[in-house]
């Protein structure tokens, strides 16, 4: 697929052809401006490619009607570098929010939220507010919120970007655990250390083109 923006002469993504299998864990690497964010935006159906096809979890996003987008997004989970937690809500309320806004019943929420908090290791912090937590803990809340609806695909945009190496390692372990439940994980990152240690699939973008797609790759040299 190809995607251009009016503000730039060079396409943001040019003839990108990638297939990520169900249940896979893949890193998306590349310098700033290489097209990683555009790639994730297209997967989230925040935008559509200019040409080509894009199929996510069985849905052809290039032909999807706007009215079907919310239902499609319920099959995805998203985690960001800046956590994006709601300060006015407790940890449990932040996680529950993702279910409330898609109309889940209180019974479901009361059952699933504690389970998910348990899974990310924050069962005891349920009633605390985000600002009372460390960065790593906040990211765990964000991951819990992304995972609480058991998505088919988890998109993580620089999830360790604001965290120290040790905490980043914990977050990686958590994402790995989620991956082992069958959820496909695609993680955009700049974190050389994590990519090198994980030895997972690595897709590298340079100027909107896929220059490398290694099965058990590393971050690479001189980058």
């Amino acid at each position: 697929m190809t995607k251009s923006y009016a503000s730039s002469t060079r396409p943001a993504l040019s003839d990108v052809c990638v297939e990520i299998a169900k249940g896979e864990f893949a890193f998306l690497i590349g310098a700033s401006g290489s097209g990683k964010s555009t790639f994730l935006r297209l997967l989230l159906r925040e935008d559509t490619p200019d040409s080509g096809t894009l199929v996510v979890a069985g849905h052809d996003l290039t032909r999807m009607k706007s009215s079907s987008v919310p239902a499609f997004r319920r099959t995805l989970g998203c985690v960001f570098q800046d956590f994006r937690l709601l300060e006015g809500k407790t940890v449990a309320e932040n996680v529950a929010f993702a279910l409330q806004v898609i109309g889940k019943s209180r019974r479901t929420i009361d059952k699933v939220v504690p389970e998910t908090l348990e899974m990310v290791g924050l069962a005891r912090e349920a009633d605390r507010r985000p600002h009372e937590l460390s960065g790593g803990e906040q990211q765990r809340v964000a991951i819990a919120r992304a995972f609480v609806n058991r998505p088919l695909l988890l998109l993580a945009d620089e999830p360790t970007g604001n965290l120290d190496p040790e905490t980043s390692e914990d977050i990686m372990l958590l994402l790995d655990r989620i991956n082992r439940t069958g959820t496909t994980v695609l993680m955009a990152t700049h974190d050389r250390h994590i990519v090198d240690r994980s030895r997972r699939r690595v897709v590298e973008l340079v100027d909107g083109k896929v220059v490398r797609d290694d099965d058990r790759g590393t971050y690479g040299v001189d980058r």
Binding site: S66, A71, F72, R73, R84, L86, G88, F97, V101, I102
Partner: protein, 300 residues
């Protein structure tokens, strides 16, 4: 679940944006009170109009000789009648023969001036036509058209006076409506602004809702409801304001006019009848404004 959740979002939204909410309530109240006042003036004006209809009539007195020769209005008087009926702008023609006009005279003056009645013989008065006009404001042109008809004397109605009274009422109504329109415009802009600010302050929550697959309605509804609640409270204040204005000010100012039966009374029932219209207008305008603002400014 959905109802509880949206209700709590709305409550928090209104509280967090308190000053803006208050501003919107006040502006809506003023705009709708003006609109209500305009409607009440129109209602009163048209109800009062009937009281003044008789002033618009033309009285056409037929020469005494013709009257006495032709009391049944078939020959000479009949021709005058035909001419009157054929005149442009005349809506109806009513005939009273000399006997009837005398009876009318007697009835009118027997109690106040019996001497006058005593000294007037039954054949002293001629017959008379009463004309009503299609459009009272065109009385002058009708008077000109009738000037050439022989054997009659015309007494024009008080159309001009009525016109003046109603032009004052029309002016009051137009002023109220103009202020209402300007106020409504300000209200619409304020609602749009309030919705935008509310959506901006809660952009993280809206963004999360969008990403986890909340439907557009789920995302928009709290904002729309906030605007509607503020507008409905404003509308209720407007109704309260109109009732207070009636009790404290209007009834006192118009007391004389009411007593003299010059103006139709504005009743509490009139205002209460108007209340649902104002509430509905406030709710619809605010809902549409908030909805359109979200469509334009919030990406989904």
């Amino acid at each position: 679940m959905a109802v509880t959740f949206i209700a709590s979002e709305v409550w928090q939204g209104l509280r967090r944006n308190l000053s803006m909410t208050l501003a919107m309530i006040i502006t809506t109240a003023v705009a709708l009170a003006m609109l209500g006042a305009g409607v009440l003036v129109v209602m009163t004006a048209s109800a009062s109009q009937a009281k003044y209809d008789y002033l618009n009539e033309f009285r056409v007195y037929v020469d005494r000789s013709i009257s006495l020769e032709d009391p049944d209005c078939t020959s000479a008087c009949g021709r005058i009648r035909a001419e009157l009926e054929a005149t442009d702008g005349v809506a109806s023609v009513e005939y009273k023969n000399p006997r009837q006009t005398y009876d009318e005279f007697v009835e009118l003056f027997s109690s106040t001036d019996p001497v006058l009645v005593e000294s007037t013989s039954p054949d002293a008065l001629g017959s008379r036509f009463t004309l009503t006009l299609v459009d009272p404001t065109r009385a002058e042109s009708v008077a000109q058209a009738l000037a050439d008809v022989e054997g009659i004397e015309i007494v024009q109605g008080q159309g001009e006076l009525v016109e003046r009274v109603f032009s004052v009422l029309d002016g009051v109504r137009n002023a109220a409506f103009t202020i209402a329109v300007v106020q409504l415009l300000a209200t619409v802009l304020l609602i749009a602004n309030m919705t935008q600010i509310a959506a901006f302050t809660r952009r993280t929550a809206v963004g999360i809702m969008r990403l986890v697959g909340a439907s557009r309605w789920y995302t928009d509804l709290p904002f729309i409801l906030e605007a509607v609640i503020a507008a409905v409270v404003g509308a209720l204040l407007a109704v309260g304001g109109l009732l207070a204005a009636k009790g404290v000010f209007l009834d006192r100012v118009l007391a004389e006019a009411y007593r003299a039966n010059l103006v139709e009374r504005i009743t509490t029932a009139d205002i209460l009848l108007l209340a649902p219209v104002l509430v509905a207008a406030g709710a619809v305008v605010s809902a549409l404004t908030a909805w359109a603002t979200l469509r334009i400014t919030v990406r989904h």
